[in-house]
Subunit: 372 residues, 2 copies
């Protein structure tokens, strides 16, 4: 634990929000912090220097995707992901479990392992807790994840309970399989939207004493209110001296609400995926830049943003890029959206430090609704 430590700088007075720093061997992540997603060891369309300039401190990469292409051996030959993808800040890899449960075909799960077929070429592959750790040790991220069982949204309580207990057993095996001491292995809380199952999962994992805890299985189709109440039930069970990571979330308002509930770390494809699809998050709400209303709009995409898309170009030019099918459109909007997300978590952090998170929350919700 000497290589990793979480320090809490402030706790908001009216919410559970907290501001801190998570120290890793590749530098700090100020929290609340947002990790852009580099599925295949590249945040689509962006260079590391651009991500840095956008404020990103830590990236996420996907174990499942990288194990298939190029294979973890090739990444290992490079000395790990940092060298492979030229990112010298901290990196997190997921366990591959979520992708196996959502992408892979002909899946068979038992207590020992998951047998599945690659979504690319149909090759039969296996993922076990031990194998998930082994791949992640080859990839060499700073933060790695236990293999968890991710039941689909709307699964029965009985099956979610079974997944919780299997996830606990797998977490124990991951802990035992870990050989490297320079990677922080996080346990993943499951339990659907059942408060008691979330508590059960979190309590069991806390017994295993992980250096950090992730909350998985949310933002999978449940109503936002169910996600928020699930966090209300889960976060208080987690130890205050460890970082808390809400996996795959989410929209700006979800991040805001989760921060108010004590979450420290986030990742989501939304800024880049939406950016590629011509949707920009702005200080006054979403902008769909292909819309014909922007045809001759000489204004900035977001006058409050300092990214290249906003300072160097007009809405008219950005629209032109998308209408003409030019790569620079997705590049600029991805860059803008990541800048937007980084600014959002920085604003939330600053508000916690000054104990005014509640008033910022009201202000942001008003602005996003277009009412201000």
């Amino acid at each position: 634990m000497t290589l990793f430590s979480y320090t809490c700088d402030a706790t908001d007075s009216m919410t559970q929000g907290r501001a801190g720093v998570w120290h890793t061997p590749h530098g700090p992540l100020q929290t609340p912090g947002f990790m852009p997603v580099g599925t295949l060891a590249t945040v689509k369309g962006l260079l590391p220097a651009q991500l840095r300039a956008a404020g990103a401190q830590m990236l996420l990469a996907n174990t499942y995707h990288l194990a298939l292409r190029p294979g973890e051996r090739i990444v290992e030959e490079h000395g790990g992901l940092h060298r492979f993808m030229n990112w010298d800040g901290p990196i997190l890899t997921d366990s591959g479990g979520f992708q196996v449960f959502s992408l892979a075909a002909r899946r068979k799960v038992d207590d020992e392992k998951i047998v599945f077929r690659s979504h690319i070429d149909g090759t039969e592959l296996e993922l076990s807790p031990e194998r998930a750790v082994q791949i992640q040790e080859s990839l060499g991220a700073d933060c790695i994840m236990c293999l968890d069982e991710c039941p689909p949204a709307g699964e029965s309580r009985e099956k979610i309970l079974a997944a919780v207990d299997r996830t606990t057993r797998w977490a124990q095996r991951c802990r035992e399989a870990q050989k490297r001491s320079d990677q922080a292995l996080f346990g993943i809380v499951q339990g659907g939207i059942h408060p008691d199952l979330r508590e059960r999962s979190a309590e069991a994992l806390v017994q295993l004493d992980f250096p950090g805890y992730a909350v998985g299985g949310l933002s999978v189709g449940e109503p936002p209110a169910a996600m928020y109440s699930t966090l209300d039930a889960t976060v208080p069970v987690l130890p205050a001296d460890r970082p808390r990571y809400l996996m795959g979330v989410g929209k700006p308002e979800d991040i805001l609400e989760a921060v108010c509930r004590g979450i420290d770390m986030f990742d989501c494809v939304m800024p880049t995926r939406n950016g590629r699809n011509a949707m920009a998050f702005t200080s006054s709400g979403p902008v769909r830049i292909r819309n014909s209303q922007y045809r001759s709009d000489l204004g900035a995409l977001d006058a409050e943003c300092s990214c290249p898309a906003c300072t160097d170009y007009t809405r008219s030019y950005l629209r032109h890029l998308f209408v003409a099918g030019e790569m620079l459109g997705p590049i600029l909007l991805s860059l803008h959206n990541i800048t937007y997300y980084q600014k959002l978590v920085r604003q939330l952090r600053d508000a916690i430090l000054e104990s005014r998170l509640q008033s910022l929350r009201s202000e942001l919700l008003t602005r996003w609704s277009g009412a201000a």
Copy 2:
């Protein structure tokens, strides 16, 4: 002519090669100089700062494409291409003639004008010498081109002669149509691969006293030797105090040979198009990075290159990006190839300044053949 001037710094002793500077209202172009192609007011996938860092001084944009999308009025509302595409260096626009002759459908040409249909939506449009100048004045590039008639490769001598004379008449009309004094209008020499027709075309245009001359209608399928001998016949007719621009050329060896024949300016889609298709120009010849031989290759794409693709990544990583269909692959190889082209023309310029172009020519041809 006060806003534009060409100064010749050196002439190579054993070839017709010359090194100089062409001064424009948006700064100088050191010659020989290569202009990356930004067809739709964007060099595909690259930001202006990246082009600058790669050594680019001047860009090309396409009148035909921009007149269709977004339309020259929108560019004009921005104050011209420089502001629209955020490039503060010099810009050149072609006349649109080449695209009308190669891309547009149902084309009817007479002495007055060309009537054609948009390749995008079939709209009937017209292009005349006056209209070509008018559009280019709206786009606002530093260097603009006369409308020329571009006969297809292999056309009869009779038809090429007719195209030469029509191109001369159109050049006269372009000259008369020009209203702005802050744009240099170039005449375009035609004449296929017939030395006498090229001389006829060049002599007639020189009578019209343009601030610069382009050589069009080459690199359209003729053998390299025919292109070189055509330049041998054409360039000596052009005045020594004006820049000479070989349109749409070309491969590194074509640029080398054309520089040896006294050409100053080049543009070509090859560095970006080939880059998007996983082909890199390197100091030891072309590299097709998708090739399986690079799967575990931890070496640099080109050890002699200082671009981000070569200094920050391995061949193995670059191959991974293309195999995985990641945007960063085309971005990095485009950036590399433009860096390569800029370095090439800079090397040629330095060699002319030191009167050793002939020996550099031998050295480069040997290296590219893979023999060194």
